[in-house]
């Protein structure tokens, strides 16, 4: 798989769109999830994901080797930062943004075949609560929490993606987790079973 990816990357660096699209299919889910967790809504995440791949395609010649995944996620991260900066400059309120969060987004989640309706509702409540908690984090802490706790990446890779060092990653991650915990507890956002689990 790694050799195949290297071949695709090398071919894409020479402008082969099909090879690049093969890489897109490999990483579009990860890129989209990162954008979704950073931006908080499906439309913005889709647009940012598309922009990130477009930017990657145009800059493939600048890729100097190493982990293509890290390089791609770094581009996606920077794209998300651009979107967030634009939002700060031009704050807008979407009339259906909340409805999209609560209704559309869960429909796009991967369904668990074995869960009951109650469990599905509880999972949706939990997802909403965690999204709200993530939204309370500063951007530099949010990206680290998403990359570590959502995407399961190592500190080294997070440092590479965010362009920081290990110490910064550790610091931001611990503070982000502490904030998350505070936010989840403050608004009684945790469902009962997690509060129970939490108290164990």
């Amino acid at each position: 798989m790694a050799e195949e990816e290297l071949r695709l990357v090398e071919s894409a660096r020479h402008g082969e769109a099909e090879s690049f699209n093969a890489l897109v299919r490999l990483y579009e889910g990860r890129v989209y999830n990162l954008c979704y967790r950073m931006l908080g809504d499906a439309d913005s995440a889709a647009d940012a994901g598309q922009d990130a791949f477009l930017s990657a395609f145009r800059n493939m010649r600048k890729f100097r080797g190493g982990s293509f995944r890290s390089w791609m996620l770094r581009i996606a991260t920077n794209t998300c930062y651009d979107v967030l900066r634009a939002r700060k400059r031009r704050p807008t309120t979407s009339l259906d943004a909340d409805a999209q969060h609560d209704e559309d987004a869960p429909a796009l989640q991967i369904a668990d075949e074995g869960e009951t309706p109650d469990e599905r509702v509880q999972r949706r409540e939990l997802a909403t609560a965690i999204r709200a908690a993530l939204d309370t984090l500063p951007e530099d802490q949010r990206i680290v929490v998403v990359l570590s706790d959502v995407e399961g990446m190592s500190y080294d890779e997070i440092a590479e993606i965010t362009g920081t060092n290990l110490g910064t990653v550790k610091s931001r991650l611990s503070r982000g987790r502490a904030r998350m915990r505070d936010a989840l507890k403050a608004g009684e956002l945790l469902p009962s079973r997690f509060r129970h689990e939490d108290g164990e």
Binding site: G15, A17, F20, N21, V24, R25, E28, G29, V31, Y32, N33, Y36, R37, A42, A45, A46, G49, Q50, F53, L54, F57, R58, R61, A105, P106, L108, Q109, I110, R123, L126, A127, I130, L134, V145, S148, D149, V150, G152, S154, Y155, K170, S171, L173, S174, R175, R177, A178, M180, R181, D182, L184, K185, L190, F194, E197, D198, G199, E200
Partner: protein, 300 residues
């Protein structure tokens, strides 16, 4: 429970967070595990943080609403679309430049309007046609000139013929143009050319001076005129001898000593139309280069 984080300092919080991810050294792990066993606040903080990490990790994966695959045509850089406009702009600037130049040439009286001043070579040729003696004396001067020009065979031929009349040994100097055909007498075509009247008069008037005057003038000649004499010493010696034998000084000697001043074309002020031409040429060049660059980038 709610006070567990507040009892931790930043260093302990970082250590617990890294411990959950397995990003601590063996020594740090041993120390921290021992502390968690004996410090309830640290244990509570560890459990809260661990539960939070687990919750976040359980977030469902989202499915992208559409594929992000790239269409190469639409993925072209934005400036690649400017290629057509750049090319069109360059072509328009070139057409405008052509029209402006045409207007400029037609308006100024045609292409021949600016050739009023005689060429320097023509001036030298005219001097060489002043007479047999003068032609012979000026052969040493004219021969290197013809050598420099390299494209005036009739001038060299005439000089050679004139040199033969007075100083046969000066022929090597005129051999600068060996391919020149031998000419007999003076070339009518050269005679018919417009001679600068002032130079001709001055040359004739100076024929009364003798050898001493000739050498005096030679010593005062400019470096430009001296260089040919150095290149052809035999010719110079022969020239002087030829003049002495003939008992008359040569008007060509004066021409040799005081080379004719190069005619300086009158300086025309830079007209607005010329400025427009330069601007259009620069614009066409810049736009053309930009279009070329955009086309090369678009092919990548």
């Amino acid at each position: 429970m709610s006070t567990s984080f507040e009892q931790l300092n930043d260093a302990d919080l970082e250590l617990v967070s890294a411990y959950i991810d397995g990003e601590v050294t063996a020594e740090e792990r041993a120390v921290l595990e021992a502390r968690i066993e004996r410090e309830p606040a640290l244990r509570a903080a560890f459990e809260e943080l661990q539960a939070t990490v687990r919750l976040v990790h359980e977030l469902p994966r989202m499915i992208p609403p559409r594929s992000f695959t790239i269409d190469p045509a639409s993925a072209r850089p934005r400036w690649a679309g400017a290629f057509g406009w750049l090319r069109l702009g360059s072509a328009l600037a070139a057409v405008l430049l052509a029209l402006t130049v045409t207007f400029d040439v037609v308006g100024s009286g045609g292409l021949g309007g600016g050739s009023a001043a005689p060429a320097p070579a023509a001036v030298m040729r005219d001097q060489s046609t002043g007479g047999g003696a003068s032609g012979g004396a000026s052969a040493a001067t004219n021969a290197p000139t013809a050598k420099e020009e390299g494209a005036a065979p009739e001038s060299s031929a005439a000089n050679s013929a004139a040199a033969d009349q007075t100083a046969p040994t000066s022929a090597p100097a005129s051999g600068a143009a060996p391919e020149a055909p031998p000419a007999s007498g003076q070339n009518p075509s050269i005679m018919s050319q417009a001679a600068p009247e002032e130079q001709a008069t001055e040359t004739v008037q100076s024929t009364d001076s003798g050898m001493s005057n000739t050498f005096a003038l030679r010593s005062a000649e400019s470096p430009t005129a001296e260089a040919p004499a150095q290149n052809a010493p035999e010719s110079a010696t022969a020239m002087a001898g030829g003049v002495a034998e003939s008992g008359s000084s040569s008007p060509g000697t004066q021409a040799f000593a005081q080379p004719a001043p190069q005619p300086i074309p009158p300086q025309e002020p830079l007209r607005p139309l010329r400025l427009v031409e330069f601007s259009l040429a620069a614009l066409a060049l810049v736009l053309g280069l930009a279009a070329l660059w955009a086309a090369r980038q678009g092919r990548r």
